[in-house]
Amino acid sequence: MINFQYARANDVADAVRQIATDPTAKFIAGGTNLIDLMKEDVERPSRLIDISRLPLKSVEETADGGLRIGALMPNSDLAWHPLIEQRYPLLSSAILAGASQQLRNMASTGGNLLQRTRCFYFYDTATPCNKRKPGSGCSAIDGINRISAILGTSEACIATHPSDMCVALAALEASVHVAGPNGERVIAFNDFHRLPGNTPQLDTNLQPNEIVIAVELPAQGFAKNYSYLKIRDRLSYAFALISVAAALELEDGTIRQARLALGGVAHKPWRDAAAEAALRGQLANRATFTHAADLLLRDAKGFAHNAFKVELARRSIVRALTQAAQATPQSQSDKKIR
């Protein structure tokens, strides 16, 4: 870790002011990802602006029946918040599927959105990586790519976004509230994270002088028919090979509304409008779910070590939708997949 300066932000406006004066500064909240990356020399900020004491830790009801989650709400408190458990259990389940309790106690809501890929080569400063050093090349494409993406990849980058929480937030159509020098703006969740394209160094559409202040959930929480199914190389405390957030609204066995988001497969939580449209109005059965999975994966492309993820994703989608339809969501403690 290189030497750096440290300062506290007094309020959101002060944080925005401080970051504007120093383009090599970074905000720190929970620090679970940033400090790790600083120890690896991947992140080398000249200054840390400590936002952890800003009053952004509440969960409040919004006028339209949704919830506004402060950006500094710790992951553990969010997962176990009574309103989240009752109305958005998909979000609770996804959060509890990720990291460890120690990390969830530290990690913030905004920081979870901004965590960086766990691609081995992004962490290994001895190897080329277009995300870490634009133009240096992608080591994963012809390297160890078991954990890499199968959808939305580019020749420059095949990294995945590591978050579980974000997969649920994508399915729930959350919005991200940010503040910058020109005031506040709202970014739809699907527009927050980017695909790599030719600029994989940019994970999100957040501007360098902006700060995440809240995440808002719309009223519909799919609390009855949902499941978060995470498949990984060990039963706990590992990143997803494939994860599926499935949420359905059913009426007499017919699907009225459907949401489907995948983690571990792309540079962002992956949603597919055609796959969701193929679920709506159909009977909630295996044929419907398989058709939706085929549609979602129509352009999926595996690499040397992760081609298995295409079939794994197909089966995981069908399983998660079945769990959602049967109102038997995947348990995150009893790991048996039923």
Binding site: N3, G31, N105, Y237
Partner: protein, 175 residues
């Protein structure tokens, strides 16, 4: 190789900042220390305060050996900057026993032989104290899941779960 290490150096080195004065209540004792911004809570405990019970395992938040309680919550001290915890209350393994009596978790780990080499044990016990205070884990499955941030390379897991179950019955949700 010389060229590679030269390239890593910043063209504009950051001037060394002053040390920051930090006040924390550590194991009930009000403690003041001066730390550089990059000093982790783990290094402050071990190197500045000689509280070497808290262990440095991976130093990347992956093993849990550095787990301590900050304001009653278990965290990885290796990923926490000491300067950010000014005013916090920290409990380490050294702060769990009361005069003349082991903490119920310490006793339970002995009763159940819940360790072999012992390196992960301070982190396991602090983590378990946090888990019991949270009050969410009831079954063995739930204990295993919520203890998954603490790795034991000797593989004492079954005995660790048994020890936590014993202590849980005696502690009634108190840390």
């Amino acid at each position: 190789m010389a060229q590679a290490s030269k390239a890593k150096r910043s063209k504009n080195p950051v001037p060394l900042p002053d040390k920051f004065s930090v006040a924390m209540t550590i194991n009930g004792v009000e403690t003041k220390l001066a730390v550089a911004p990059w000093t982790t809570l783990l290094d402050a405990l071990r190197d500045h305060l000689d509280l070497t019970g808290t262990k440095k395992g991976c130093d990347h938040g992956q093993c849990g050996a550095c787990t301590v309680l900050v304001d009653g919550r278990r965290i990885n001290s290796c990923l926490t900057l000491a300067v950010m915890k000014d005013g916090a209350s920290v409990t380490t393994i050294e702060g769990l026993a009361t005069e003349g009596a082991l903490h119920p978790l310490q006793q339970a780990f002995i009763d159940h032989d819940a360790f072999q080499c012992g390196y992960c044990t301070p982190g396991q016990i602090c983590s378990a104290a946090g888990l019991i205070a949270e009050g969410k884990a009831k079954s063995a499955d739930e204990i295993r899941e919520l203890m998954s941030g603490n790795i034991c390379r000797c593989g004492a897991y079954p005995n660790i779960v048994a020890a936590i179950q014993q202590a849980m019955g005696k502690m009634d949700g108190k840390p």
